[in-house]
């Protein structure tokens, strides 16, 4: 099936029909930086970060959207490529409240800028995406300081009028990954590009707040956002990558069984993301999977066994409560036989729990009166 081969940085690689330069490079562990490219969606070539030099081509070409042609000779980090990427990054850094440490040496008005960003964030911390920002990573990688161009004032205020997603347009670089995540990955069709030129903005519906749009708050856009433009409200300035431990688990809601990363800080889940490339959900989550984790920290959780006393309950120790259960069950079995007991297991709990409960009923109580809510 190979369509020939191309040369990348002096090495030859065969390729399949319709493969792009980026795909061939990735398959062969050659890193080409990307920003707007979203796996699983059609490449747009919008951000120009993935440009590469192709011998014989007049201009640099976007690796994400350029199909390989037999005999192509590609350079991924040539001086021309690096200069172009640095220029792109300078422009992006000047386009909003990108107030990470990048740029601190050249700008005279750094303090004023930080004050303005802090006022916009309503807090003193640096950007909520600090340490988890592709723009920041790339700026560091290519040692781009920022400040070469005057900073533009963000034209749109932050949107916070929904309970789950903060849309900070001051940090949006218009890469379009969120638009693709919404339209091509989740296919909820809630957001798209609106307006033109310098007024361009990612809009929901006819530029209404998310809560008044078709948005179903799956948060795929947050997961796709490479900067701090889209952030979980519950995790904003709480979640920090350097404090964070990631634990893989399975979602506790519907039967799809999505794989999640639980982001844990100080023994608390502070945010949830999808496991990219994990089966079965390939990184996708829904509103319940992404935002429905904090019930476990409710003050209303049961913390101790309870025993009925009249119309109320009193607290009890495990020994007292379990002895009572065992004694009553023993008495009922003795008087009326094993089938006078019945149990309902839980379709939300782990397999090991259901196994133990049916083992208890069958092996210990000696009845098959065990069921669960498969019928509901």
């Amino acid at each position: 099936m190979a369509q020939g081969s191309i040369s990348i940085n002096g090495n030859r690689f065969p390729f399949e029909p319709e493969q792009t330069i980026l795909q061939i490079a990735e398959n062969n562990q050659i890193r080409i930086p990307t920003l707007c490219y979203l796996k699983g969606a059609s490449p747009t070539g919008a951000c120009r970060i993935c440009v590469v030099e192709v011998e014989g081509a007049r201009s640099l070409l976007a690796a994400c959207s350029t199909p390989a042609v037999d005999g192509m000779v590609v350079h991924t980090e040539s001086p021309r490529v690096v200069a172009s990427r640095r220029e792109t990054l300078e422009l992006l850094l000047a386009s909003g409240n990108h107030n990470c440490a990048i740029g601190s040496t050249r700008e005279k008005d750094w303090t004023a800028f930080q004050m303005q960003a802090a006022a916009s964030d309503n807090g003193e911390d640096l950007c909520p995406a600090w340490g988890d920002c592709r723009l920041q990573d790339l700026a560091y990688h290519y040692q781009v300081e920022g400040g070469k161009y005057p900073r533009t004032t963000p034209p749109y205020p932050m949107e916070t009028v929904n309970p789950l997603i903060v849309r900070d347009f001051s940090r949006c670089i218009l890469c379009g990954r969120c638009v693709q995540a919404c339209n091509e990955i989740q296919v909820n069709r809630a957001i798209d590009f609106g307006y033109r030129g310098v007024a361009a903005k990612v809009v929901a519906g006819t530029d209404v707040p998310l809560k008044d749009s078709q948005c179903v708050f799956c948060g795929e856009c947050i997961q796709a956002c490479p900067t701090g433009a889209l952030v979980e409200k519950k995790a904003r300035f709480v979640w920090r990558p350097w404090k964070n431990r990631k634990i893989r688990t399975t979602c506790p809601y519907c039967g799809v069984g999505c794989q999640q990363w639980l982001h844990v800080q100080d023994d608390r889940i502070v945010k949830v993301t999808g496991v990219e490339d994990g089966a079965p959900n390939q990184g996708r989550l829904c509103v319940k999977g992404r935002f429905g984790y904090d019930f476990i920290y409710s003050d209303e959780r049961l913390k101790t066994p309870l025993i009925r006393e009249g119309d109320d309950f009193r607290e009890a120790s495990w020994d007292e409560a379990l002895d009572l259960v065992a004694d009553r069950f023993k008495a009922i079995i003795k008087e009326s036989g094993s089938d006078a007991l019945a149990g309902v297991s839980c379709a939300r709990s782990i397999n090991e729990d259901s196994y133990q409960m049916q083992k208890l009923f069958r092996g210990v109580f000696k009845t098959n009166n065990i069921d669960h809510c498969a019928r509901t």
Binding site: N162, L164, I185, V187, K211, C218, I247, T249, T250, C254, G255, V256, G257, V264, I269, G278, A279, P280, C286, V287, G292, F295, I296, E300, R301, L302, K303, P305, L306, R308, F313, W318, A321, L322, V325, R328, L341, A342, S345, C346, A347, S349, I350, N351, E352, D353, S354, Y355, Q356, M357, Q358, V364, K366, N368, N369, I370, D371, C373, A374, T376
Partner: protein, 516 residues
């Protein structure tokens, strides 16, 4: 191509729906069969808004056309199935013209959809509770399976009959034998050999070989005294079962009720003892999803107070009966017991599912797992058996006093009785109360405005909720969920059950609506 029947995927299984939508954008065909015009319909080639509970009539009429017009997979039927003649006889008596008034889909459309289904291979059928939650639920499932066998869509990738399981581990709870008729791995309790095998493994004797009670029978037993001790683990039956007045009477009749849960809820009100359990992220274990994939669940934070893992609580009760169970962690229970005792899970061990899970059947540790069943038309029982069914109406149909059909289901922002989602910041803001979803036509007829509080009454109860006037719902239908105690649809639903599965008819009962 997909046939999605009785499944509101975009709300009940949102992530699964994204993959269906992706496929449609890539050119796959989609037929949606559902009384409601839910969001997946926006992506469908055809939407068949059938009358509630008429699935068998529609499916039989489709099969009638497939046979009449010689569009079915003759090779598959000949080589891999049995009972075709009986099926033919049943569906011959159900031409589209006869089915049309029953299901509310005209004969031309039925013929068109039959031809469309026969034109593409394979077709994947996805169904959910819209199929099963009827008094004819079992027959609905059989009819779907009949269709797929007739079309030769079984035993192939992207084909088959795919029930989307409603809860994260309802598949697993079945696999584990939390059912009255089978041990883990679906080994029948009536089989003396299986009984002996588990007695040996569990170091016990005298286990029952009688099939036990299903939940509705247990509930009846609470009232007539046959069931004296009742142990509810992680279910809020007082809100989830049909006809709440009836359920609460049953729970109140329990002589000794133990409830094990993570919160006090409407069911714990009836408990004698409440045992505090560790929750989802406070436990190491496994869930099994709709594709039979066993995936890991891991501990992220400690349980509050002295709450303990559920498996530990059961083990402690067993100990008080003189049984010393050796396994002392989720991993030990799975690796040393479950996967040793259930042959289809024999190859699944914790060390193999550190990353992605494995799909059973997975009999050996070298086995890669099984993505789809009945490969090459090899069914578990040999030949695939056609089980023809005739249409039967719901137990309660609209009449003069209760002229509308109430159908129930789930909404996107909440899960079941909200014990979990009701305590998550933000989700209540997105959906804070129950509504009665009604059509524009019915709203106009009764002079009901969108958002107006109305009364919904059935023979069993009544609720006051806001009307949600929506184009999703057809004329003659009220659609509600059971997430909120107030306005819970189960004050209204009918405790009529499928005679085989004892699944309740949540999808159909008769109601009327009134202005307040």
């Amino acid at each position: 191509m997909f046939l999605v029947i009785g499944s509101n995927m975009t709300e009940a299984h949102p992530v699964a729906a994204t993959f269906v939508k992706n496929a449609v954008l890539n050119g796959a065909r989609l037929v949606v069969v559902d009384p409601r015009r839910h969001r997946l319909v926006d992506f469908a080639d055809m939407h068949l808004p059938l009358k509630v509970g008429s699935d068998i009539a529609l499916l039989n009429a489709i099969m009638h056309v497939l046979i009449e017009e010689n569009l079915y997979d003759k090779a598959f039927v000949a080589e891999h199935t049995t009972g075709f003649d009986q099926l033919k006889e049943t569906v011959q008596a159900c031409p589209p013209e006869k089915a049309a008034p029953v299901c509310g889909i005209d004969a031309t459309t039925i013929r068109k959809v039959a031809r469309l289904l026969a034109s593409v291979k394979p077709v994947m059928v996805c169904y959910t509770l819209g199929i099963t939650e009827h008094t004819c639920g079992k027959n609905n499932v059989m009819s779907v399976a009949n269709l797929q066998m007739l079309l030769g869509n079984m035993g192939v990738e992207m084909g088959g009959v795919n029930p989307l399981r409603g809860q994260n581990n309802v598949q697993g709870a079945c696999d584990m034998g939390a059912l009255p008729n089978v041990y883990p791995g679906y080994q029948p309790v009536t089989d003396a050999k299986a009984c002996e095998k588990f007695e040996t493994a569990w170091q016990t004797t005298g286990m029952s070989q009688e099939v036990g009670l299903m939940i509705p029978q247990m509930m009846d037993g609470l009232v007539d005294g046959k069931v004296r001790g009742f142990y509810i683990f992680g279910e809020n039956l007082a809100n989830t079962e049909p006809d709440i007045h009836k359920v609460e009477h049953e729970l109140a009749s329990a002589e000794f009720l133990v409830v094990q849960d993570i919160f006090l809820n409407e069911t714990t009100r009836f408990a004698d003892v409440v045992l505090p359990a560790a929750a989802w992220s406070e436990n190491d274990g496994t869930f099994t999803n709709s594709e039979r994939r066993v995936s890991r669940v891991r501990t992220a934070s400690p349980a509050p107070g002295v709450a303990m893992p559920n498996w530990w609580i059961f083990r402690e009760i067993a100990r008080r009966f003189g049984h010393a169970w050796p396994s002392n962690s989720g991993r030990e229970i799975w690796d040393n017991e479950i996967s040793m005792l259930a042959p289809s899970l024999g190859g699944i061990k914790y060390h193999r599912i550190e990353g992605d899970g494995l799909q059973w059947p997975c009999p050996t540790v070298e086995h890669p797992g099984t993505a789809y069943l009945h490969r090459g038309g090899q069914f578990t029982c040999g030949l695939g058996r056609f089980t023809p069914a005739e249409w039967t109406p719901p137990a309660e149909v609209p009449d003069e006093n209760y002229p509308l059909v109430l159908s129930t289901g789930r909404r996107l922002y909440h899960y079941h009785t909200r014990t979990q989602t009701g305590r998550c910041e933000g989700l209540n803001d997105l959906l804070g109360e129950e509504t009665a979803d009604i059509s524009f036509v019915d709203a106009d007829r009764l002079g009901i405005e969108n958002g107006e509080r109305i009364r919904v009454k059935s023979r069993r109860g009544e609720v006051a909720v806001r009307a949600n006037v929506t184009p999703e719902v057809p004329q003659g239908m009220v659609w509600m969920a059971f997430h909120f105690r107030e306005g819970n649809a189960n004050w209204l639903t009918n405790a009529a059950f499928d005679p085989f599965t004892l699944t309740a008819e949540y999808k159909a009962c008769a109601v009327r609506i009134e202005k307040m």
